[in-house]
Each structure stands twice: as C-alpha cells, then as structure tokens.
Symmetry: C2
Subunit: 228 residues, 2 copies
Amino acid sequence: MFTFDSMEIDLSQAEENYLKAIYSLFVVANKAVSTNKIAEKLNTKASSVTDMVKKLSEKELVNYVKYQGVSLTTEGKNLAVHVIRKHRLWEVFLVRHLGFKWDEVHEVAEQLEHVKSVKLTNGLDAFLDFPKYDPHGDPIPDKEGNFIKRNITILSSLKINEESKIVGVKDSSSAFLKYLDNADIKLGAEIKVIHKENFDNSMMLLIEGQKISISQQISSNLYVKQND
Amino acid sequence: MFTFDSMEIDLSQAEENYLKAIYSLFVVANKAVSTNKIAEKLNTKASSVTDMVKKLSEKELVNYVKYQGVSLTTEGKNLAVHVIRKHRLWEVFLVRHLGFKWDEVHEVAEQLEHVKSVKLTNGLDAFLDFPKYDPHGDPIPDKEGNFIKRNITILSSLKINEESKIVGVKDSSSAFLKYLDNADIKLGAEIKVIHKENFDNSMMLLIEGQKISISQQISSNLYVKQND
DNA sequence: ATAATTTTTTAGACAAGTCTAAAAAATATT
DNA sequence: AATATTTTTTAGACTTGTCTAAAAAATTAT
Ligand SMILES: [Mn+2]
Ligand SMILES: [Mn+2]
Ligand SMILES: [Mn+2]
Ligand SMILES: [Mn+2]
C-alpha cells in the first residue's frame, strides 16, 4: 500500500511549488490548466512555466501537451499533496505553539514545507495530535495522503434564517484575515442570516449573538457548514 | 544595541553554509582559513570556494586577500552565529518534542537552519524555554548572539583519579554518537579516571558507577568539565 | 473565411553555483 | 638558488531557473 514514506524523489523547491500551483488550479478548474494561469499564480512568466512544465513532464509528474495545458499524474498529485500536508502541519504548529496569528503563518510555512524528512513530518503530525484542519480551516492530508473532503457552502449563498457555522476562508490573504480578526469573526462561530440587502448584496448576520453586517466581498470568501 | 532582529540581509543557503564553515574553521585555527579547507568542509572544490569567497567579499561579509585565506567580518560573523543559533535550537526541538535521537538531528537541522523568520526563531527559542545547550552539548547563541564559552577539557588529557562530568562531544558523527549510546555514555554522566594504559592510551573509567574501558579515539572526542 | 487579438512556445540571454583543466603563486626539497 | 611539489586562482563550461523579444498557434471578432 502506498504511503508517503515510499517517496524518495528529490525535487527542488521550485519544482514543488509548481506541483502545488498546478494542483490547486486544477482543483478549482477541474481541467488541464494553462501555462498563463500557472505563471500568474507563481508570479513568474509563461515562458518560464513552459520550460519547467517540460522538465516535470520528463519526470512524469505532469501530463503536458503543447498548447493544451497541464495536469498532474498520480505521482505528481501525491507529491503535491505531500507538500500541502507539510505546509498545513507547520501552520498549525506556528499558531498553536509559537504564538503566530493565522495571518502570519503562510510566508513561513512556504519555507518550511520544503524541508525533507519523513520522520520530521510524521513526528510533527504526532506532536500536534494529528490535526484534521489547519488554522484557515483547510483539511490536512494524513500520511497516506487522504484528507477530509469538506462539504463547502459559500456564506453568500445562504438564504434568510438559515443557520450555519463558519468553517473556513476562501481568501487567506493577510488583509482579509486581519479584517476578520477586527470584526471578531472566527472559525467555529455559529451564524444566522437575518437579512439580505438586495441593493448591494450585503448580509446582516447574527454571529454568536452579535448583529453584524458584512459586504458581499466578505460573505463570498467565507465557507460555512449548514446545521442539520 | 545590536540584535539579530536588525539583520535583514537575505543570503542564499549556499552563502549561509559558507559563512558557517568559515566560522567554525576559524574558531579552531584562529587564523585566516584556506580555500582548500573550506572546500573540504563543504564537500566542494577549491575553485568553487574562490568564486564564492569573492562574492562574500563584495558583500563585506568576509575579508579575503588572494592566496592569503579568508576570515569573517563582524557582520559575517554575526550572520554565521545566527545560523548556528537556528541550527542548534531546531536540534533541541527535534530531540525534545519529536522523538529524534541525537544522532538523527543534524541532517534535518541543516535544512531548518535556513528558514528565514525572526519571529519563528525567537518563538522557537521561547517555546523551548531558552535552552543554553543543544543535544550535543554545544552552546546556543541567544538573540543578541551571545553564548556561553565553555571551559573545555578533552577527556583524554585527564590524569588518574581526576573526576569530571561529560559535557559535550567533539565528533558528532552519527557513528560516534551511536557508539556512545550503545556504551551507555551520556552527557551529564559523572566520570572518574581509574587507569590509563600506556601501551595504547586507552582509559579505564568509572561512569556513573560502571567500570568501562575506552580507546584513545573515544576519549579524545569527549569534552568534560572538571569537578571543583 | 479572413483578419485581429490573445495565448503559448521558442530562441537567446543572464545569474547563481558548481565543475575540470590549465596557469600562476606559494611552499618545500635538494 | 634552483627545482619540484603543493596550493590557489583563472578560464571556460555546464545546470537550474529565470527573463525578454519574437515566432507560432489558437481563439475571437468582423
Ligand atoms: Mn498557507
Ligand atoms: Mn493554511
Ligand atoms: Mn548539528
Ligand atoms: Mn549540534
């Protein structure tokens, strides 16, 4: 049976970042992703992407046909998920044990995710007691690469009087996370939709007893789980 | 007053490794170190070292005169010590919290020491309760770069009946550390020299009540602190 | 269906870091 | 002091990952 322990391919940080980018773009698009989209995501140029994608194709980590976009092979996907696992475990560590705020962890996790040591990753996982979610509500793959598939609802799509719980953020930029902190909007908070303003699509909510109005910008970047 | 917080120079991992190598070679030689020695330490070629040393000299991190060896500037030394601080803090973390043995930490620490985040380093330091020594008995610089200067005695230089405590290892290769584990020789152990064999310079010791014989190879790689 | 526009790839260049082989300098030997 | 040996530097090449500018292909508009 497959586990990450068996993975001994030594990729560069650049290669790992490409795999991650391709993975996350594919998840939303659900079809082969363009070199342009990858370039945008990685803050680089499409020509650089073409070069790298050829290299990854040589290594059989991506499927690539000229002019037709890129997708991950099974092996490429496993490697991408493994990097994501490390990224999210480190984020948990930083928040729980080193006093980082959820808007401060990403940059450091981007570095830590490239450290290579199966013992380190699994040791960290155990130390943290096998967390299922990172500080932004994103699921953490276990060492087999399996993770919880969340039943995501976007807050903005809720109807009046529907009740739910905030379980994640779509945008995890520092700016958005800080806004949430200031507005006292936290993961796990119970909310109820009181009113939806037709004019600007803003929403009036009851969050943990508090009445609060949020713009469409905000409500379309919050994931909720509806109460049964 | 100077602290590492003020250091914002962004060095590559290669540059940091060169500074560390030059630092540790200089500490033992106490004079400008040769490109050859640096090459040997870093498992590279002297010609590569010459190139890099020129670059570091441009950045005023080393003093370099052709054919006359290399030494660190104040800034270079500060940066080297900062990397060593991170290396040793991570080693403590790995042993204390992730179940690593002292012979397993070095390789991973070599990667972790290059992660850049003042908040991470100081947070880790605080989480570990500001440890003074790493698992091999090496002193850990604080955030000002200061560390305890140990009064090192090599075990092999002790006379008969002298009593002392094991406080460090000179060789921290995995092979040597595993030997010590098997022989049940630990940092902190109280020892007394019972006998010195003239023939091969082996030593008979009393370690925590146990009688044990060690070769010169071993005794010349153990640091002790003499009891007053 | 042709033309205009956008996307993607190619061609050529560059910086970082490394290597081998040869030249130059320093050191050791006779 | 001259010669041989060792150490160090230079010269030129290679890899990885990136870039700009130009060419080619695909897409959109007319
Ligand atoms: Mn993140
Ligand atoms: Mn996250
Ligand atoms: Mn070490
Ligand atoms: Mn150590």
